[in-house]
């Protein structure tokens, strides 16, 4: 699971730091190599990604009553088409 210079904890920290960003910098080479060969870190990576996706997918819709209340408060309800 561990390589000589890069620990799982470092990789996990890096995942939280740079999720969604460019991992092609020289600085990231060791991290990428470790990630490619470590199932534990891959699982961690996936769980952080899933965390973000859970919150992305959790949307709420403003219903029509809420829309009407807003326009009424702003004095714009007569203009709604």
């Amino acid at each position: 699971m561990k390589k000589q210079t890069t620990t799982c904890k470092e990789v996990m920290s890096h995942i939280c730091d740079s999720l969604g960003e460019d991992l092609n910098s020289t600085k990231c080479t060791n991290i990428k190599q470790h990630l490619d060969s470590c199932p534990t870190c891959q699982k961690y990576f996936e769980s952080v990604e899933s965390t973000v996706h859970f919150y992305k997918k959790y949307d709420v819709k403003l219903d029509n009553e809420g829309h009407e209340r807003l326009l009424s408060i702003l004095g714009l309800n007569d203009l709604d088409e």
């Binding site: 939280c16 730091d17 769980s47």
Partner: protein
């Protein structure tokens, strides 16, 4: 936030609204109400408070539209206003008990990596899962929550997030890092197989 009309730009609508056109104002409200409401809900985790924050935000917009310089996008300005209203609402509540994220070392635990029983695709109509998500993010301090939502959920840049949250870029990065690790750990406690 996406511009839903190809015909009239935000800038044109703002100019018309400043000149007194209520029709232009109504169009601006219509264009951004869903995004503002959704963002407010994601910060407040409560529909009534989200609607309250949305109403306050548009009242502020109407009041201050003349002062809008146009240096930033209207959406950035609205995110700033709604973030402030959400913060004021949070402060006005009697009780809020946030988790301290100062101890970064404890946020990463390489001994507790488990499979999760739910994927994000299972979220629709799963109230239990929604409650778990609400509870986890409610423990985040307000500034961490706003940074996480702006950056990861709404997809804004680090620079835009720093302007809206009134934080330096390094402070945004640090809060995002800790918020991701914290939320991941919280979900891991309840979502593991």
């Amino acid at each position: 936030m996406k511009d839903t009309s190809n015909k009239i730009t935000d800038e044109q609508l703002i100019a018309e609204a400043v000149e007194g056109s209520n029709k232009a104002l109504a169009e601006l409200v219509k264009r951004y109400e869903q995004t503002v409401y959704n963002f407010a809900f994601k910060v407040c985790r409560n529909k009534d408070r989200a609607e309250n924050a949305m109403q306050e935000t548009f009242m502020s917009m109407v009041k201050s539209l003349k002062q809008f310089s146009g240096k930033s996008k209207l959406s950035t300005w609205l995110y700033t206003i709604v973030s402030n209203h959400c913060l004021m609402l949070a402060r006005s509540q009697k009780k809020y008990d946030y988790t301290s994220l100062e101890n970064e070392d404890g946020l990463i635990n390489d001994k507790n990596i488990l499979d999760w029983k739910f994927s994000p695709e299972k979220l629709a109509d799963n109230e239990e899962l929604k409650n778990i998500l609400d509870e986890a993010i409610s423990k985040l301090p307000h500034d961490y929550r706003v940074v996480f939502i702006l950056r990861d959920v709404e997809g804004l840049s680090t620079q835009e997030t720093s302007e809206i949250a009134k934080l330096t870029v390094p402070a945004v990065k640090s809060r995002l890092h800790r918020a991701r690790a914290f939320l991941r750990n919280e979900l891991n406690k309840t979502l593991h197989v």
